[in-house]
Amino acid sequence: MALYYTEDQAMLADSVTGFMADEGGIKKQLRHWRDTNCKDGFGHGLWKQFAEMGLTGMLAAEADGGLAMGHVEAGIVLAEIGRNLTPSPFLTTAVMGVTALSEASDELRGRWLPGVIAGETVLAMAIDEGAKHRPDKIACRAERAGNGFRLTGAKGFVIHGTSADALIVAARTSGSDSDADGVTLFAVPKDAAGIGHTAVRLVDSAMASHVRFDGVELDGSSVIGEVDGGRAVLNKVLSAGRIGAAAEQTGVGSGAFAMTTTYLKTRKQFGKLIGEFQALQHRAAHLYSELEIAEAVVIKAQQLLDGGSERAELMVSVAKAKAARACNLAVREGVQMHGGVGMTDEYDIGLYMKRERALTEFMGDANYHAERVAQLSGY
């Protein structure tokens, strides 16, 4: 398969790019919700528009009312979310949430997917427990109680946690914290008794939550997949989230880069456009090369994931690490090359830097994925 968009994908990209430039822009979304101190950190109106565009159900099966598309298509949307820094529950809901629910019973899918596809329901992922992404270790416990389970423990970095209608929770149903087996995924409705939230605003203005589960009673029907066999589902969810975040980062990187090259062509110092200085030209050209390479490996990993390749897991980690490094370089060079104005809140370049930091941390930073690459490669 060629490593560029098919005709259908190119058409999707065209329509999403136009739509997001009109509706998802920094002023209309990110700055608006940030400056009005929105408790959810994103606009539900845009989420509804996503549904009208058919984006919310991209990854859902046709039988569930979705479009049965793949990660290349989801990545097209995420890259535009990145380029526009649009606050959106798309990644946690339509990508990770739908990936999880696709493995769930008819009953659970019927309960949550129609709302997601209609742009009315938001899902959040409760996976990590500490400040760093360590999904191999799950201490949050769901003990058997009667016909169901009782959930106890804490989760952190739950993006959109307080606005979500349901949390997808990875909990331990047997074994010890670091066992691969014994993990079970649950879809926990927001109104279940015993859930406590501490909402926190993150550096990129997204709202996250520290969630406590204090003996939350769940019936058996909230289990996604097999009891104790949740690791396989979790791995799919993680891959979807990682490649999705990587795609979003390529968008953030290229958005920051576009702003920066525009600035190099307009700002004058020493009687010249600063873009004439070779010191800046070479750094910009190097950055271009890094961003191109990151985009290439992201689409490669998306295709492998969609094709069910055995190399997908490795390449998703490669893509997440590469996209993180390239995007990080883009925002650092972006702020630096803007000089003093790059430090101001008025200029958008700083907003790119903030989003990059959050995305890097989400689903594992570059070092985490480098470690995985070494392990998966057998050294």
């Binding site: 190097h286 290439a296 490996v297 390449m315 590469k322 070092n367 994925h369 690459v373 070494a374 050294y379």
Partner: protein, 386 residues
């Protein structure tokens, strides 16, 4: 089965049936590369046989037209050919400047007669070419070149000196940039082809830091070149030269999946090293190598259908060669003091150190990294005054 699937099956079976076992082992050194040419000494019968069976089918240049010695594969088929060759671990049947550089330039700028004549020779491995671009005073600033061709009616008389001419002492013919108008800088250069045995051509090998002498100083003393041996128009050789450089840069970048793109982390376990810092560096390298391999694949896919920026080979060359240099720095680090040995049997005659030193030329030959960045800044990013 789709057409492409049956094509793949056919290619797979053909390679299986025709590629000798010995030609499926990784290339270890210069001697394993089949360059072809009048004076080429094959290292083994298998090497000769592999070149010949491929040439007979047009597989030395699979995507060239059949009329010029190729197999006429379209981009999708050529990609399958590359994938199946990689899958089988098969060595390229023939490597040459004729294939990588002159061929694409002739396909675009040559006359029908030139294409049939020269391309066929290249495809069959009969004639080996060298590249006469650089001069002592004209490296990065190539357009300042001084080698002069004086118009003598039906021929030119060429005088001057080239330098860094790779394999000039082994090549049969040269494609050469010659000034044919002293009053015009860019539009005063012509792209000439001539036989290295023409009277007045001499070469003098130069020894590299790696110890080998693959390139030469090349002198022209009243060399007569018939007018029929010009490619493109008189004084418009710069267009041909630049187009050819794009292909040269593509080749040096390793975009087609050369050693640059393969991972090296396993060297850690192979050498039994317990070195967490090196392991981390190797993992970072492998991420970059696998990412660049994807970039190479994407680039080739795109360039074949006109989707790549025409200046993209410059980016590829920059990224690919810098990556390859890093690769050999890490391999030296992983090799420790063993890798320092210059002529021991254990290191196959100092192969790690010699390869490491050789790779330093990657970001110089075919245009330096700094020049690549200049071109990207100017032509792709359209930065001012670049």
């Amino acid at each position: 089965m789709s057409d492409l699937e049956s094509f793949r099956a056919e290619i797979r079976a053909w390679i299986e049936a025709n590629c000798p076992e010995e030609m499926r082992r990784p290339v270890q050194d210069e001697g394993d590369i089949c360059w072809g040419g009048r004076n080429f000494v094959f290292k083994s019968e298998a090497q000769k046989q592999w070149m010949e069976v491929c040439a007979a089918k047009g597989y030395t240049v699979p995507d060239w037209p059949v009329a010029y010695g190729g197999a006429g594969m379209d981009p999708a088929q050529a990609k399958i050919w590359r994938e199946e060759m990689a899958r089988a671990g098969a060595r390229p049947p023939l490597s040459s400047f004729g294939i990588w550089m002159l061929g694409p330039a002739l396909l675009k700028f040559g006359t029908e007669e030139q294409k049939v004549h020269y391309l066929g020779q290249v495809a069959r491995g009969e004639i080996r070419w060298c590249q006469g671009y650089s001069e002592p005073g004209s490296g990065s600033d190539l357009v300042s070149l001084q080698t002069f061709g004086e118009d003598k009616g039906d021929h030119w008389v060429v005088n001057g000196q080239k330098i860094w001419t790779s394999y000039a002492d082994k090549a049969d013919w040269i494609f050469c940039l010659v000034r044919t108008d002293k009053a015009n800088t860019y539009q005063g250069i012509s792209f000439l082809l001539f036989d290295m045995t023409t009277p007045g051509v001499t070469t003098k090998p130069i020894k590299l830091i790696s110890g080998s002498s693959p390139f030469c100083e090349t002198f022209f003393d009243n060399v007569e070149v018939p007018k029929s041996q010009i490619v493109g128009q008189l004084n418009r050789g710069w267009d041909v030269a630049k187009y050819l450089l794009g292909h040269e840069r593509e080749m040096i970048s390793g975009a087609g999946g050369g050693e640059q793109t393969s991972t090296i982390g396993k060297v850690l376990t192979r050498n039994g090293l317990d070195d967490p810092m090196l392991r981390a560096e190797l993992a970072q390298f492998d991420i970059d190598a696998l990412s660049f391999a994807a970039m190479g694949e994407k680039f080739l896919d795109e360039i074949k259908v006109g989707k790549a920026h025409p200046a993209q080979p410059n980016m590829m060359k920059y990224a690919g060669t810098e990556l390859n240099k890093r690769r050999h720095e890490l391999l030296m680090a992983a090799g420790g003091s063993t890798a320092l040995e210059w002529d021991s049997a254990e290191t196959r005659g100092g192969a790690p150190a010699r390869s490491w030193l050789r790779t330093k030329a990657n970001s110089i030959e075919g245009g330096t990294s700094e020049v690549m960045l200049n071109v990207v800044a100017k032509r792709i990013l359209e930065l001012p005054g670049a």
